[in-house]
């Protein structure tokens, strides 16, 4: 009966259902668009410097000490290379240093990289604006950000001195030639982060003394890696953590290490982090975005709810006589209330699947074709983003949206239902 009641006034109900569908469609599209924009920004940051995941020793994770190299690096690299979800790996050294030119000095974070591997994981290695990227494993070459170059007043082929502590605590200085400048995702990155060949800096820091030189990646403080989908890497992270424990067990058998305490020492163990953990602000941005989008959707649906409330009030007004009759013949208040609430819910929910389907369809198409923003290419490029944004489908929001529609429809039914319950059968009918 509730469903048939909706169609007493097909035009009016049609408009409400259409408005609901349109509102949900607009909301879903905005959600997909904003999520796409945020994803693009996040991926740009991940490509630039964060990476999708990272393995370090527990000690390095806590202290950033340059002596805290990853223990038994090769088995870890092997595990990563064998993981079907992992698409690229880049071992790195991370060293705090001072950089000096003829005109000034600045603190810097030196990334000792294996150039070929680095290129497969990070974009910085690909966004060289002047000169070239590092291409030799051991050369005295350095690539720095445009901002730092400006500050130190250096250009291609100029010399710079890096001063740092080796793993024994001795202070060393090394001379490097600028071979390239990069354009980073932010000025802060460009001012602090610079790249040198890992084997060169490892040599100067006396890290290679006890490591066989035949290995491609003899030392690293961290191993950064990419996966197929950075938004679905929980399984990969879990597996890598399990492999780490397994390696320790194997090690204890092989080397007859019996003391659990010895095995649990921080320098023996590694820690695997995903990007949300490496760079929490990116994870927060995702969460804030999700909550903002739901808030946005709530506002749209709230406006819809007032429309529905108005429609239901009109329906009650038009059916006063009939409601009076229903009460007179014995329809109790609970049934009247249920009837009004059910009508409101049906009216609201009729538009919901249409809006969801339209929204999903629009996002499915635009996620393939992309939407190009004209005139703001420069601004987006500043964030390391392309001018074509690919919205994404957001099925994770559909259930919360349905829940929101239910709650708001229910709330908007309360006032009309209360009006109906307050009707006096005799006054409403003015007949019997």
């Amino acid at each position: 009966m509730a469903w048939r009641n909706i169609w007493r006034s097909p035009w009016r109900s049609g408009v409400v259902i259409g408005a609901m569908a349109l509102g949900v469609w607009a909301g879903i599209f905005m959600m997909g668009w904003a999520t796409g924009l945020n994803d693009a920004r996040t991926r740009s940051m991940l490509d630039d410097n964060v990476g999708h995941g990272r393995i370090t020793s527990v000690e390095f994770d806590a202290t950033k000490s340059s002596s805290a190299l990853i223990p038994r690096l090769q088995p870890i690299l092997n595990d990563l290379q064998e993981d079907p979800e992992v698409t690229a790996i880049a071992p790195r050294l991370v060293i705090q240093a001072m950089i000096q030119s003829g005109s000034g000095a600045a603190p810097a974070m030196v990334l000792g990289v294996y150039p070929k591997a680095e290129k497969t994981v990070f974009k910085s290695a690909r966004t060289i604006t002047q000169g070239r990227y590092l291409d030799q494993e051991t050369a005295d070459e350095i690539v720095l950000g445009e901002e730092l170059a400006k500050r130190l007043e250096v250009g291609i082929d100029d010399r710079l001195v890096l001063t740092f502590q080796d793993i024994n605590g001795e202070v060393h200085s090394g001379l490097f030639y600028v071979v390239g400048l990069y354009d980073g995702a932010s000025n802060l990155l460009e001012e602090t982060m610079l790249y040198v060949p890992a084997l060169n800096i490892a040599q100067q820091m006396e890290m290679l003394d006890s490591v066989p030189r035949s290995q491609s990646f003899p030392v690293a403080h961290e191993v950064c890696f990419r996966v197929k989908d950075p938004y679905a890497m929980d399984g990969t992270i879990r597996q890598l953590r399990e492999q780490d424990s397994l390696r320790l067990v194997n090690l204890s058998h092989r080397e007859n290490i019996e003391s659990l305490e010895q095995l649990n020492r921080d320098e023996m163990r590694t820690i695997v982090r995903e990007w949300r953990s490496i760079s929490p602000e990116l994870g927060y941005a995702d969460e804030i975005m999700a909550q903002s989008l739901l808030l946005f959707m709530t506002i749209i649906l709230l406006a819809m709810a007032f429309g529905i409330l108005n429609t239901m009030l009109m329906a009650i007004l038009e059916r006063t006589r009939e409601l009076g009759m229903l009460m007179a013949v014995g329809m109790n208040k609970r049934r009247i209330f249920t009837l009004i609430v059910l009508e409101t819910l049906l009216l609201s929910f009729a538009g919901l699947p249409i809006g969801l389907l339209l929204g999903h369809g629009t996002l499915a198409v635009t996620s393939q074709t992309g939407i190009t923003l004209k005139g703001v290419e420069q601004g987006l490029a500043e964030f390391g983003m392309e001018s074509t944004i690919y919205p994404v489908t957001v099925p994770e929001f559909y259930l919360p949206i349905a829940g929101l529609v239910f709650v708001l429809a229910f709330l908007s039914a309360l006032y009309p239902a209360r009006k109906a319950l307050k009707l006096n059968p005799i006054e409403s009918m003015r007949v019997l």
């Binding site: 009966m1 007493r8 109790n332 019997l432």
Partner: protein, 224 residues
């Protein structure tokens, strides 16, 4: 014992123009199987009296016993339930539910009573046959004439086999032919199903068919 017993029932309406006594100390009894017309001019208190008997309005004074139960003392919720189970209503303006078919309208009270679909549809169909509208069972009210709609309303009122039926000016909107048909049907159902009918009317055609007349004037029963 009488089916309905009224004792000194008074109903006063408050209005800006002052208090209006619509029913002024009526005492009366109605037995099972009656076919009674409460008659009188407009404003004499017929409808108010029917409302009070039907538990739709509470008198300011007096008692109304139905099957020995004083309905004036019932709570609102209990009154609604009482109406649903024991009283059938026929309204002047038919008051069918426009989105339901004749069959569904007839079965509506049974649905409210929680009777299963099969059983209520069978009973509804039986009554539609009795009022001569079996062939219009699937029609909605808008597809029926005024007379046909009122016949569906009578069928609806009878569906749950109530103790009695209150009909307020049931023929007021009907032409002569429809009125005759309706009265024939109600008289037959009164005989066949032993249902008590109490009408309010000033239609002479109804008055002529009633087996008992209760004349009302200024809220009081006129002694004949």
């Amino acid at each position: 014992m009488a089916l309905i017993h009224l004792q000194n029932v008074v109903k006063v309406y408050e209005s800006q123009a002052g208090n209006v006594t619509a029913v002024n100390g009526i005492s009366a009894s109605f037995d099972e199987g009656e076919f009674t017309a409460i008659v009188g001019p407009s404003g004499c208190g017929k409808t108010t009296l029917l409302n009070a008997i039907g538990g739709l309005d509470r008198p300011n004074q007096g008692n109304i016993h139905i099957d020995g139960l004083d309905i004036v003392g019932l709570k609102d919720r209990e009154l609604i339930d009482f109406r649903l189970k024991h009283i059938g209503f026929v309204f002047q303006a038919y008051n069918l539910i426009p989105v339901l078919t004749a069959l569904e309208n007839t079965a509506f009270i049974l649905e409210l009573q929680g009777i299963g679909k099969k059983e209520r549809e069978a009973r509804a169909m039986e009554l539609l046959q009795a009022v001569g509208l079996a062939d219009r069972a699937q029609n909605r009210p808008s597809q029926l004439s005024g007379g046909q709609q009122q016949r569906v309303a009578v069928a609806r009122a009878l569906a749950s086999r109530p103790r009695f039926i209150l009909a307020d000016e049931p023929t007021a909107n009907l032409d002569s032919k429809s009125t005759e048909t309706l009265l024939d049907i109600m008289a037959e159902l009164n005989q066949k199903e032993k249902t008590t009918f109490i009408f309010s009317t000033h239609d002479q055609r109804v008055i002529d068919r009633a087996r008992r007349i209760l004349p009302l004037e200024d809220g009081q029963i006129v002694k004949s």
